[in-house]
């Protein structure tokens, strides 16, 4: 089938063209303005952070040579020629790695438990009182916004050096992050079962237990697994401030220029993070189907 394209009269065409050009010009102007503001902010930031492009390029060479050095053993050979020498401390590192995983596991579980207890109070549709919701929400916000490592710094002073500070820091940060996500799931839950149960005269607690929890557990578990994945990364740096885990070994190796150790520990961490990523991804896909993965 052919359709005839009507040719507009010249006058009308000119008007339309002008309107189109004006619209495009306005958009371009706005874009240009945005670009100028952004560039100005960049220049300001560069002055603030004492950066200039020339130093960047001179240092980039150093960066590459740093990687060259961490891939070289003390005897001048490449690390992969002698894996036994490269991973000489594997017993100790594996133990620290286990500690890291344990820190993130315990931290995540404690955090998820607290978040589970608090999120019904923070969700719009289930909270028993507005003032309570406000208080719980601010608390969660605080726990979420202060970075985990700052908590760790304070806890190291209160609880002493060691993995306990790391676990508590991760637990608090996870409580904040998971509490928000959990309460969002609850807000999306279907309220009809709640009404059904309330109409039988049940208390608030049984409404939550029998109407809301069955709807939301899959989402909770999915988010908790995702959080565990994030916390493994987080726990790997907790050692920087003395809060346990493999970070302690890494920071010593980096600060004291034990080059081949740095690459060995880094590789251990990266591989572990990979495995955890893949394992939790598989577990989430397997347990909750594709739709729960997002």
């Amino acid at each position: 089938m052919t359709t005839a394209v009507s040719i507009l009269p010249q006058q009308q065409l000119a008007v339309l063209n002008a309107a189109y050009r004006q619209a495009v010009a306005r958009r371009r102007l706005r874009l240009l303005l945005g670009a100028v503001i952004f560039a100005a902010a960049l220049v300001l930031a560069a002055i603030g952070a004492e950066v200039n492009l020339r130093t960047l390029f001179t240092y980039f060479g150093n960066f590459l040579s740093y990687f060259d050095r961490i891939l070289t053993l003390d005897n001048g050979q490449r690390v992969w020629t002698d894996v036994g020498e490269w991973f000489w401390g594997w017993r100790k590192w594996l133990k620290m790695l286990g500690e890291t995983l344990l820190i993130s596991y315990v931290g995540t579980l404690i955090g998820a438990t607290f978040a589970f207890c608090l999120n019904f109070l923070a969700a719009e549709n289930t909270s028993p009182a507005p003032w309570l919701r406000f208080v719980v929400r601010r608390l969660l916000e605080f726990a979420r916004t202060v970075p985990g490592i700052v908590f760790a710094l304070v806890f190291v002073i209160a609880f002493g050096l060691g993995p306990m500070a790391g676990v508590l820091a991760i637990a608090i940060h996870s409580t904040g992050a998971l509490g928000k996500l959990f309460s969002e799931i609850v807000e999306n839950a279907d309220m009809k079962p709640v009404e059904g149960i309330r109409s039988t005269g049940a208390s608030w607690l049984s409404c939550m237990r029998f109407a809301v929890v069955p709807q939301v557990t899959a989402g909770y578990a999915s988010y908790a697994l995702l959080r565990f994945e994030i916390n493994v990364r987080e726990a790997s740096v907790m050692g920087f401030v003395g809060a346990g885990g493999i970070g302690q070994e890494l920071v010593v190796a980096i600060r004291k220029f034990y080059y081949s150790d740095v690459s060995a520990i880094l590789l251990t961490i990266v591989v572990t993070v990979f495995i955890i990523d893949i394992a939790t991804g598989w577990l989430r896909g397997h347990l909750f189907g594709k739709e729960a993965r997002t």
């Binding site: 300001l44 002055i47 130093t55 240092y59 500690e99 202060v146 609880f159 306990m164 987080e234 990979f274």
Partner: protein, 282 residues
């Protein structure tokens, strides 16, 4: 109308046992998982030296610390703190921009619709994955070794870890782009350059801009902490004040960080909405 047939419950139970009674394995699975999870938890608590006495001693210590934090007071170092905050924001902005600039060409190599050969794509993707597997704080430590203490190391640390994240996100944006517009331009006689300029870029740029803005926001948080290992910004001040137990200054610094993060969240939220809104109109 026939009356609904009376059913014998016992008969139905015999006929459809799987409806009335879930197999023991399914019924036991959840409690078993919960018990296992908490068993590992207990093991972890023991292994990580959680003793109740230590915990409560620490808790009372923490209570004292919280009391000493009130009221937040910068003392005479407010100008230094403001400068450090500016430095933190600069680190976040510069680091994100640098990371995005470097990631753009690499992300093209990782996009399936641009580089069809998986032999070339695979190493690029793994490379980006391993960069992302290393935390920003670790990159900060590495860069401090290379360029020395200071905010410059922080900028580079954020740039490198963002490079990994952006490479993946941008390549996904390219893969998600609609091929129909590209084909339309080819059909009307456009060159390959026209295809990218008018077919691909208008679809991808708003997505990329939104992601960059979001990362500037989240990097403000990362930039506050990389100072703890010595890479400049407000984290440096925070770590120092914690170590010398100046709790009033610590609480002031934490408040400052919270306010700054909230402000950046607000601004970038507005900007992102503006960008995505314009895209919906166009």
């Amino acid at each position: 109308m026939t009356k609904p047939q009376e059913v014998d419950a016992a008969q139905m139970r015999a006929r459809y046992p799987e409806v009335f009674e879930r197999p023991a394995s399914a019924r036991l699975a959840t409690p078993a998982m919960i018990v296992a999870a908490f068993a590992i938890l207990i093991y972890g608590l023991v292994d990580l030296d959680f003793s109740p006495s230590r915990f409560f001693a620490g808790l009372s210590q923490l209570g004292w610390i919280s009391l000493m934090m009130i009221p937040p007071d910068p003392g005479s170092s407010l100008p230094i703190y403001l400068k450090a905050l500016g430095e933190t924001l600069s680190i976040a902005l510069l680091g994100t921009t640098l990371g995005a600039l470097f990631a753009l060409p690499v992300s093209l190599l990782a996009a399936r619709n641009i580089v069809p050969s998986s032999i070339l794509r695979f190493p690029v993707r793994r490379f980006l994955d391993s960069i992302r597997g290393v935390d920003t704080l670790i990159w900060a430590l590495v860069w401090i070794n290379v360029v020395g203490l200071g905010p410059f190391a922080g900028v580079l640390a954020i740039a490198v870890s963002d490079f990994g994240a952006f490479g993946k996100l941008f390549s996904e944006a390219f893969e998600g782009a609609d091929q129909k517009q590209v084909e339309g331009i080819r059909a009307s006689g456009g060159s390959a350059l026209h295809e990218i300029r008018f077919g691909l870029l208008p679809q991808v740029l708003p997505v990329i801009a939104g992601q960059v803005l979001y990362f500037i926001e989240s990097n403000t948080r990362s930039a506050t902490i990389i100072g703890i290992v010595g890479a400049g910004g407000i984290g440096l001040q925070l770590a120092e004040q914690i170590r010398v137990l100046e709790w009033q200054k610590v609480s002031f610094l934490i408040l400052m960080i919270l306010v700054a993060v909230a402000a950046i969240d607000f601004i970038s939220g507005k900007l992102r909405f503006a960008i995505i809104g314009r895209r919906a109109v166009a």
